[in-house]
């Protein structure tokens, strides 16, 4: 689930933190910057593991803060392909079943990766697996809060950097589309890191 990632970054220490131990100040700044954030093509950063090298600190004209190039290792949430994980069903939508690990939410089981035959119950807003046993047909609902075991099939990293103003009018999507003509100030809320997974079994029933 977790990997160690070696990174290099320049850490800015403001003057009011000069009295602090450099190591501590740097650790705090790195965690402030990276913890709970996604690095493109790397994963969700959890916390600093260690600092491997501190280069010289510089002060630049016009800025009283010191800048230090730091080589460090960070603990990152990044399951490998085919890894098996256990999470909780958060909810269902037409796109599939949404699963959460608490620390990471953007996990989706697309409908084709559910047990077949599966259908979406519009009334309950839940996916259902219709399975047959000797006693007859049963419906297994993907209930919210159920523990679910799954295998990682794919990962999607989206570069969510701000882009320039769009040149063409995009078709409004879902209920949150602003009225035509209004300024589009809300950024597109897409997850920077999503896991596509395949169901293995749920707490009640093994496949």
């Amino acid at each position: 689930m977790f990997v160690l990632v070696e990174m290099v970054d320049t850490v800015r220490i403001p003057p009011w933190s000069f009295h602090r131990q450099l190591n501590e100040a740097i650790a705090e700044e790195l965690n402030k910057k990276l913890a709970n954030k996604v690095v493109y093509n790397v994963g969700l950063c959890v916390c600093l593991y260690d600092v491997t090298k501190l280069e010289d600190s510089f002060i630049f004209p016009g800025d009283g803060a010191s800048h230090t190039k730091v080589h460090f290792r960070y603990v990152v949430f990044h399951p490998f392909l085919d890894e098996i994980l256990v999470g909780k069903i958060k909810g269902c939508s037409a796109e599939g079943v949404h699963v959460s690990l608490g620390l990471f939410d953007d996990i989706i089981i697309p409908p084709e990766s559910l047990q077949q035959p599966a259908k979406f119950d519009e009334a309950e807003q839940l996916w259902v697996w219709e399975y047959e046993t000797d006693e007859g047909a049963h419906d297994l609902f993907m209930d919210r809060g159920e523990d679910i075991r799954f295998r990682v099939v794919d990962e999607v990293f989206i570069d969510t950097s701000p882009t320039g103003p769009s040149t063409e009018k995009e078709a409004p999507s879902a209920a949150t589309a602003p009225p035509a003509g209004a300024e589009d100030s809300a950024p597109q809320k897409e997850a920077p890191y999503t896991l596509i997974v395949r169901i293995l079994d749920i707490a009640i029933m093994s496949i």
Binding site: L34, V39, E190
Partner: protein, 156 residues
């Protein structure tokens, strides 16, 4: 259903190695537990608002991991486990999954070991389950409940 995507993206100057090492759940659990203790001691430096993200991810990760087998592991059990796995010629990723999940059934072993039908005989699978059960501590609460009510055990 609108899902709230809370995660934001950051960049660093340089990515030296996106996969320098794999970490077991136990190592991360230990690291976060130690960090939590250290931060409690630093009460004088009132946690600035900038630390909220670290608090959140630490809390959620510890909460998640505390309900997995790693919460009952220690450096000795991990070392003992890895040694016991030597004769089975498993990949690092496979051993990691066995360590993180402590599988109790043949089905789980087959899910975690690639091409297990070709690489492991039935006896070897049973041997793996036995080693995993013996060397890695289980959840003391769950095992107390299970022994009190044998019908609760899932039969495979």
């Amino acid at each position: 259903m609108k899902i709230n995507h809370g995660f934001t993206k950051v960049t660093v100057d340089q990515l030296r190695d996106a996969n320098a090492a794999m970490l077991s759940n136990y190592e991360v659990y230990q690291l976060l537990t130690d960090l939590k203790e250290k931060r409690k001691e630093m009460v004088k430096n009132k946690h600035s608002t900038g630390q909220q993200n670290l608090n959140t991810i630490m809390y959620e990760t510890l909460k998640y991991l505390s309900k997995t087998p790693c919460a009952h592991q220690n450096p000795d059990t991990v070392k003992k486990f890895l040694t016991s796995m030597l004769p089975h010629k498993l990949t690092k990723a496979e051993k990691l999954q066995l360590l993180n999940h402590r599988p109790q059934t043949a089905v789980e072993i087959q899910l975690m070991v690639e091409e297990s039908e070709e690489r492991l005989t039935e006896e070897q699978i049973d041997e793996l389950i036995q080693k995993v059960t013996d060397v890695l501590p289980g959840d003391p609460q769950k095992e107390a409940d299970a022994s009190a009510d044998p019908e609760m055990e899932t039969d495979q």
